[in-house]
């Protein structure tokens, strides 16, 4: 389990700020598949993942899940809502595994932002990263087909050693904003085209050029 100073967002903080923060946070344990928060509920805390994985998602009116991002240990969430006038959770959050979170109350978060400049700067840097991620997500959803999004997703997953590599087809569908059948169909089409193959529980990427071409569709 990560110590507070090992959280990505907080790793550059000065020792005095970290010491104050260590006294303010509470460590909470969550079981796998446990709902941490519901979107649109009042946001009363900021969370940093000490251990485990958390999915941040929204539900469409017909109940379809759109995973905005899948966070792993060292990352945090809910840094934005406490700064908004209505202070509502922007999305729901659920654990994928046994998870431990460092929880900072909204009141303490606002106090740290006003009092510790290094904390404020770290949060601003985090906002810049989130803005970039959401811009890419919007582009992906609005400009690319399911085949294109899937090809991009497969390349992203296989190229990045830091990302979690094991996904169910339902999770892939939720991540891409589509349904399982569409993912299954696109995977079969990629197999027929020779871009990928399947060996039991492994999806093996074979043709980078082909997948890059598909990712532009």
């Amino acid at each position: 389990m990560l110590e507070l100073r090992q959280i990505d967002l907080l790793s550059g903080l000065s020792q005095p700020t970290l010491s104050q923060l260590e006294q303010a946070v509470i460590l909470r344990a969550f079981a796998p598949e446990e709902i941490i928060q519901i979107g649109s509920d009042p946001c009363d805390r900021v969370c940093f993942i000490a251990e485990g994985e958390v999915g941040i998602f929204r539900l469409s009116s017909d109940g379809r899940e759109q995973v905005l991002v899948r966070l792993r240990e060292g990352q945090g969430f809910n840094t934005v809502p406490p700064l908004q006038p209505d202070s509502l959770n922007q999305a729901s959050a659920r654990t994928y595994t046994n998870t431990h979170l460092y929880v900072l109350s909204k009141a303490d978060y606002l106090h740290f932002l006003k009092t510790f400049p290094d904390f404020s700067f770290a949060i601003l840097q985090d906002f810049a990263g989130r803005l970039s991620h959401l811009t890419n997500l919007v582009e992906n959803l609005s400009l690319h087909s399911v085949r294109g999004r899937l090809a991009r997703f497969l390349l992203e997953q296989a190229d990045n050693d830091q990302l979690t590599r094991r996904w169910t087809q339902d999770e892939i569908a939720a991540h891409l904003g589509t349904v399982r059948d569409m993912v299954g169909r696109a995977l079969r089409e990629f197999m027929d085209a020779g871009y990928i193959s399947k060996d039991r529980n492994q999806l093996i990427l074979l043709d980078r050029e082909g997948l890059v071409f598909e990712s532009e569709s």
Binding site: L154, Q157, A158, D159, R165, R166, W167, T168, Q169, D170, I172, R180, G184, S197, K198, D199, R200, N201, Q202, L203, I204, L205, L206, D207, R208
Partner: protein
């Protein structure tokens, strides 16, 4: 060898023992037993993910690992 025996995971807390996975398995790898569905013929399982799609309770997980072919990367 170990990879040959990776099987779909069944969550006993979610499983209602409806039997749809055992009936629908195209390779006949699953049987319904007194304690619910079991992979009685694990060597038959091709990880086709049909059981996962059939399960009405979301109790079966077929996790796929996305990797590069060593010669393609």
């Amino acid at each position: 060898m170990l990879k040959q025996w990776i099987l779909p995971e069944i969550d006993p807390n979610l499983c209602t023992a409806c039997g749809q996975c055992a009936v629908g398995c195209p390779e006949n790898a699953l049987d319904m037993t007194a304690v619910g569905p079991q992979f009685t013929r694990p060597q038959n399982c091709t990880f086709c993910t049909q059981c996962e799609s059939l399960c009405p309770e979301g109790a079966i997980r077929c996790e796929l690992e996305i990797v590069w072919n060593q010669n393609s990367r």
